[in-house]
Amino acid sequence: MDALKQELKEFIIEQLNLEDVEVNDIANDDALFGDGLGLDSIDALELIVMLDKNYGIKLTDPKQGRAIFESIDTMAAYITANRTN
């Protein structure tokens, strides 16, 4: 699980171009949207595509995203339970 969390942090920093943010700057329970890391709706789309491409998870109900993408912890837990690759 820790390796997955590290992987997710690296992906978010690189793919979402978070300049000046290091892996260590993101705590596992930090909010990814809003007051936390400050991600927005376009980032949410990037994350949905990433779930599909990297882990074979298709989100059919966009409302699910709100809970799944709350933090690195929630993302890692959802991926572990639902990944197909």
Partner: protein, 354 residues
Amino acid sequence: MKKVYINSTASISAQKTFDNAEFLSEFIDHEGVVIPVVNPNYKDFIPPAAARRMAKGIKMSIVASKIALQEAKLDEVDAIITGTGMGCVRDSEKFLSALIDNDEQYLTPTAFIQSTHNTVGGQVALELQCKGYNFTYVHGSNSFESTLIDARLQLAFNEENNILVGGVDEIGAHSFKLQELVGHVKEESIKVSALLDSKTSGAVYGEGANFFVLSNEKQGSSYAELVAVKMYNTLSKETLPETIKAFLSANEFQVEDIDLVVLGCNGDIDYDGFYEVLIEGVFNETQQAYYKHISGEFNTASSFGFWLASKVLKLQELPDLVKLNEIESSNYKTVLLYNQYRGENHSFTLLKQC
């Protein structure tokens, strides 16, 4: 009709031109077939949260726009008109590569929404909170001149009072490889100071953003008056001198009135003949300057020439590194710019001291 003035200039180029307090006081003699821009500190102008999705062309343009507005002492403009040959080509390449690599699946929105030619104009408008007329001209190496014609018409007929115009292009790795493949780029690496001595085919490429506030009201910071702009898709070397004379005559000028002619020579032996016709012909007794050893070649490189000519008219000095011949004008009242790219998209731009 109202007169049109260049009230401010801003340039991000392969030299340190973003500081308007200096005028080519240092020369970086780049070596290669593509020359990179000297980057300003983008964070001084763009909040990090906004900058993270911006491609190079957008960042350069926003910084140049903000510098141009600062110098013109304006908080807002009535309109934004952008010229670009290739637009945000890096994000276009990124999106198209993802399309191919992922078999048309897993496409993400960021590169796509920033891959269009008018992304720059839109992002500049968002940064400046300008809700007015916003137009992008994509017309090869006449893209920037198209913005000048549009802005000039609107200002002359008093439809707008202050318009931000600019030319921007960025280098995309894949597009550059294609240009190399078709022989548009020089095969040998050269020092840009020796660009015109190369006598080989192809050009040295670059990128940059040059933005200006044009206005129908003259102010203390004004650089020059934009008298006329004319574009031709095709012209022959034989008819070029007479066409220039007719252009000058239509604006009540003669060849003898021109104190400086600024030429877009890029060291390509196959096409610099257009400039040689003028250098050795109608303008052989006129002071001559060139600039593509500084800017590199790109579709809107002529906007750098426009920046250079504006500076010369305001500061009344011509840096040695752009001089093309030995003739020295005693002062600079009228400057003519001529540019073409690979024998097409010719343009004449006439500026006057104000």
